[in-house]
Symmetry: C2
Subunit: 342 residues, 2 copies
DNA sequence: TGTTAGCACTCAACGAGTGCGAGTGCTAAT
DNA sequence: ATTAGCACTCGCACTCGTTGAGTGCTAACA
């Protein structure tokens, strides 16, 4: 497809552009990357590469800039598979060691760390409980008017809601209600609960018990709330260091994208095959980030894909380093989280 | 202190500057606000006002800009107490009606709404449990190795942690432990628990029970975590509309302030007398926002101050409207939250 | 035939020079 | 005490020539 020399030149151009963010000219290539040919030759090759669509010129007589096609080729064919540098690896381990150990914070800290290391925005999606099952409900006393409904799932996630006690209900009544609900719904997934409720219209379970309906509502609430996976975000300040964001309007559109949780979910690719995905520019669905790239990795706990880690930045990003970093996360983040579970 | 006409002129200058964000000249004042005097007179008065330190000139032959002292005087003496406009009031009610009803989200939505209405950053601090008391601890079963420790406070806040079951411990043991802990610690504030633990070195309570120490750790964790009040944030995009943030570096410093939760707590004033506080420019402790102002209000539930709402923006902000809005929040937000409790 | 040196050409970026306009301070007249 | 008039100050926008990095093309060369 591309002869060896063209490949080398393209690689040099992209590497240089990633480093400097400035259009790169033939002279620069000849000087910095000694390919054994003069600038004139490189000019000719560059003209070819431009015709083929791998690089672009902003205007006549400016250096060349990689096109999206160019980046795509770079990522697919020119990038030697690399692993995280010694430096990065050290940073990684140190980061986690220094921090406290709350499960919830691991996601946030991971996002923060990645954004610090890459100077780009980082997204970390927390495990979703799609598959998890309702285990039991228990009422705990609070005061005369209210009880706490605690909902436990089989994966160990716990949530609670405060509920009013209907007039005249005794402690015994509450125990009876929770037992009855647990008997019927325990072990069911949220989908199953929904179906079950629709089938036997909910107030048939125990007729005329307001408490039951609101208890079930609570269960549904908690479980659906958890089903939407939460996306943690880091590095909005970091991104400002990138020269492509020295423009306030770009910052504004980017920030408004990041403010909407739904848009964040659009950025993280659904179908999530297990591994690394790189989406360059227009390949992104979300049109507001058409001049950005996303590198995304899944991570697993006990072999099952439970979440994603991603880096979002200008198309001109350090693909090599970022891919290596996310590959590392892909294999290690799950284990790390597992450790935090206890 | 200031004769009537000077006051009027100062007011006109500040109003105009708040509106336009451009230095305002004598001619403008004379034309737009007919004070019955010509521009030359106004020039003389402005020269006086400048000498007194209420207004400043960026360079000779530019219009005047209010100084911090000017804003201070404006807020203290020139601002007629006003209530929220019909428009704003409508927006307020509509906003809350349209949204769903989760307690946690009320803070976030409030911040978002205020920032939308004012085009400034908004901070809402959630109720802190400083004064609250530990009520009881209960273990709920999870699986063979683990239990869920649920901690309940007297204000109805519930949190939980997953704990490993020590080898050989039976369900009965757990019940005994929780009972023992509850007997000793129930009704105590976190400070009291800390003291109590120091006094009777913790493993004396029930000697040699690892479970007890980690249960108490859990209680401490949960209660200290809640003691730091969480601050919700809204309007990072909104602030970019302000002309003073058309500069990337300013955005950067501002965003990095907002990223650190500790800095947010610095912005919200501690001593929090019950009412509205306006801090202008240098009056702010946090040096990174020395060219910003903060308007802050407390809000109460059942008469007790539980949190704060604030607006953060350039010193050139619509003090009148914002103060009115926060006064409204001061009186109504508590009630609103109370409604969501159920 | 591929490579290179040389040359003319292009175009953004920079800086100096200019005119304009909004604004001021001062002074003298009202 | 107020104001009209005038000279003066600057920032801002605009123009225009210069510079420099870069290109494409052509002819010479190995």
């Amino acid at each position: 497809m591309l002869d060896e020399r063209k490949k080398k030149i393209l690689q040099a151009i992209i590497n240089d552009y990633i480093l400097t963010a400035e259009p790169v000219g033939s002279r620069t290539i000849a000087r910095k990357y000694n390919l054994g040919v003069g600038p004139a030759t490189i000019r000719n090759e560059m003209a070819d590469l431009e015709l083929l669509g791998f690089i672009e010129q902003l205007h006549t007589s400016s250096g060349r800039v990689p096109s999206e096609k160019g980046y795509r080729f770079y990522v697919d064919s020119l990038l030697a598979p690399m692993s995280v540098s010694e430096e990065d690896r050290e940073m990684l381990t140190r980061w986690y060691q220094a921090k406290s150990l709350k499960m919830e914070e691991v996601f946030q800290e991971t996002a923060r760390m990645i954004s610090h290391m890459t100077h780009n925005i980082s997204l970390v999606s927390a495990p979703q409980l799609t598959g998890c099952k309702f285990k039991y409900l228990q009422f705990l006393p609070l005061d005369e008017q209210r009880v706490i409904a605690v909902i436990v799932t089989d994966t160990g996630y716990v949530d609670n809601k405060i509920m009013m006690i209907p007039e005249g209900a005794t402690e015994e009544d509450l125990r009876r209600i929770s037992e009855s609900i647990n008997r019927r719904l325990s072990g069911m997934s949220i989908g199953a609960i929904k179906r079950s409720i629709v089938e036997q219209a909910r107030d048939e379970i125990i007729p005329n018990e307001k408490m039951v309906t609101s208890a079930i509502d609570t269960i549904m609430d908690v479980m659906t709330a958890r089903q939407k996976e939460k996306v943690y975000l880091g590095g909005t300040t970091q991104m400002l260091q990138q020269p492509e964001f020295r423009n306030v309007d770009k910052i504004q559109t980017m920030l408004s994208v990041l403010e909407e949780e739904s848009r964040l979910n659009d950025i993280l690719q659904e179908g999530a095959e297990d591994g690394i995905i790189v989406k360059i520019g227009q390949e992104n669905k979300c049109s507001d980030i058409h001049n950005c790239s996303v590198v995304q990795a899944t991570y697993r706990i006990d072999g099952e894909v439970v979440g994603k880690v991603a880096v979002l930045g200008p198309t001109r990003m350090e693909y090599g380093r970022i891919i290596a970093l996310l590959k590392f996360m892909h294999t290690h983040l799950g284990n790390l989280l597992k450790g935090y579970r206890g």
